[in-house]
Amino acid sequence: MIDFHTHPLLVREMWEKHPDLRRITREIFFLNSAPQPLEVFLRELHVAGLERAVLLPIDVSTTKGCQIYSNAQIAELCQMSDRFVGFASVDPHREDAANELEHAIKHLGLRGLKLVPPSQEFYPNDQKLAYPIYERAQNLGVPIVFHAGMSWEPHAKAKYGSPMHLEDVACDFPGLNIVIAHLGWPWVEEAVMLAIKYPNVYLDTAALYFDNPWEFLTFVMTKRLPLTLFERSLRHKLIFGSNYPRAEIRSMAKAIRELGLCADCLELVFAGNAERILGGRGREPLKQAVDSGTLRNGNR
């Protein structure tokens, strides 16, 4: 069981080692919660009934002059607990971005890539800027989590976050697994459309923009769209993510568990789908994976 979308920004031990993380967390990521010992992160996972968490950095070197956790810092944190799966981030404006990604995967042991177009200020279908990165990720067999939809960070404009920019990427890189984060809110239907159509497009559930986790996710996943859509058409495409620490892992996990999805579907959402795209079968077509039984509880 895994949380596929966390930002380890409030880990006190890392603030003590890297004092600039405090300013970056406050001013760049715009999160004003108090730092907590690493143990709190692990306890959050435990209370939520999860074993592991994907740690996501954001490289905003060009637009903000810093990294919201560097790849090396993510690797450092992964050394502190075997329950963490580290992802890299690279700055698409830098010419060495693809090489940076390869270094992070091959030498730092990171397992995927996080890109945040609104903060990094690029359109995901910018061929000149971003396609070399996608090509390298595809060759390395690692997934990319794209922030999509609204961003809380100051000056991060939603125009870069429309899921529709990802259709070109999904189409042009069929061997690249793409995770549309935050259900793409407010463009949930567009994000769902891409996940239905393209075998290499997934959605994560790290979405909370009003009310509370239960009310928000119930509205989006059972009222705005029918729950049957997720149950029947997207059970192999939906991945649990909390967006911790903007929301508590336990609250987001509880909200997803209480939507009314069947047990098999929940197993896929909390484990099977993430394992599949992390497990080195990144380019295996979905149907083939289902047929071969490599999807856990992959009911068809």
Partner: protein, 143 residues
């Protein structure tokens, strides 16, 4: 008059729980050297409490269950909204309400270097929004 203030940090383990801190308070009183005076205990948070009650598991559980009835986690709260100063939503109104219901302080007299406690009384730190690292202060005043 002596005044000793100690900040005590503790790691809570669950969303809601009661943690018996009586021995910790007694330790601070003993180390202060105060023979006659008072001790104040205060939580530094707005989603926790300080409770004094009987130290048996059934009473602890009844308190937590009753607080959940009075201020349920899934209640209809104005606080369920984006907080423009925090960078996140504030969906823990239930924890703030439980904190208000139980209070955030307690005090006890000290006589001959000993805390005066009733036979059934225990002092608890109450977590309503855990797991988190929390801090409470114990201040001893006296001669």
């Amino acid at each position: 008059m002596k005044i000793k203030l100690e900040m005590v940090e503790l790691q809570t383990q669950k969303g809601m729980e009661l943690i018996d801190i009586t021995q910790e308070v007694e330790r601070v009183v003993t180390e202060s050297g105060v023979r006659d005076g008072i001790v104040n205990i205060m939580s530094k948070h707005t989603s926790t409490g300080i409770i004094v009650t009987e130290g048996i598991w059934c009473v602890e559980q009844d308190i937590l269950d009753h607080l959940e009835k009075l201020a349920p986690e899934k209640g209809d709260y104005h606080h369920n909204r984006p907080l423009d100063f925090a960078g996140r939503l504030g969906f823990n109104a239930h924890a703030h309400l439980k904190s208000v219901l139980t209070g955030y302080t307690a005090f006890f007299p000290i006589q001959q270097g000993q805390l005066i406690l009733g036979g059934a009384q225990r002092i608890y730190f109450a977590e309503y929004d855990g797991p988190l690292s929390r801090t409470y202060c114990v201040q001893v005043l006296g001669e």
